[in-house]
Symmetry: C2
Subunit: 152 residues, 2 copies
Amino acid sequence: MRWTDIDQQDCSVAQALSVVGDGWTMLILKEAFMRVRRFEEFLDRTGAPRPILSDRLKALVDSGVLEKRKYSERPDRFEYRLTEKGLDLWPVLISLLRWGDKWMTTDEGPPVEVLHRRCGHTVHPEMACPECGEWLTATDVEAHRRRIPAPR
Amino acid sequence: MRWTDIDQQDCSVAQALSVVGDGWTMLILKEAFMRVRRFEEFLDRTGAPRPILSDRLKALVDSGVLEKRKYSERPDRFEYRLTEKGLDLWPVLISLLRWGDKWMTTDEGPPVEVLHRRCGHTVHPEMACPECGEWLTATDVEAHRRRIPAPR
DNA sequence: CTCTTGCGTTCAGATTTAGAACTTACTAGG
DNA sequence: CCTAGTAAGTTCTAAATCTGAACGCAAGAG
């Protein structure tokens, strides 16, 4: 199977990965959450090669994660903003950040701090279930398929 | 910058992505959380090409996310299990699942169900802050760098 | 007129991927 | 003994993708 056909799998994770499964894509989104909006700034911050950035931004716009908006005419200049769909990826990025903080840490402490807008204190978000209110980790749950996978 | 040098960025997300930023890698981990442990089963479930699977498993073992364990001698047979470090990636996978469920859904409903082991009901995990107990989304928080990035 | 900025595209060479075939080591069946 | 099957890989080649540099274009600054 080719990676480009991954969206054919009957699995929400595979579907999600068909959009954000690429490393540069994720890095671009991370910067987008840090309020980066312009081509050249994405280039500087991510370090991605120019054609890659161009390609990934195009794909993200196509999939509705980013919106390309003109912020200047004469000359035409564009910026890329997270849509509602894109903003909903926040838990993915935050989870990666938390994991990186915990397991890939250097001696200088975490490079990025996440502050609660309302009260200004540092937050360390974790997963919980809105229905029962309990904190959740891998061992608290069990995932299973609801449909039988198509025979190959 | 090459993708392989991405771990040099002073950012926990980039550090995390240097380990799990690859699409097949994530797909492999998803299956690992679904209790897949053997080479041939990963092959069937992910649809990844053989050499890719071999390479990615090796990398995941090297980075301490999976543990390679012999489950048979004569002939030697191995299985791959999530370590504690690997289990901690659960929020990343669950976030991808939730996002896929919401935004990439087909008409048949979500393919995978996540059940709370204790009470057996379906859970839809979300992000919250353990300190203040509030539910969090992208717009509730503000991220900023604690260190000045090295000049290029 | 030349330089700079912003946002790209194009190109050639290096790297990676995809898919099939092959390897190794053992078991089971006839 | 011979053949087939299973599990876990490795090796090979063509095709696709990535990388880095150069180029394009439209406008403003000096």
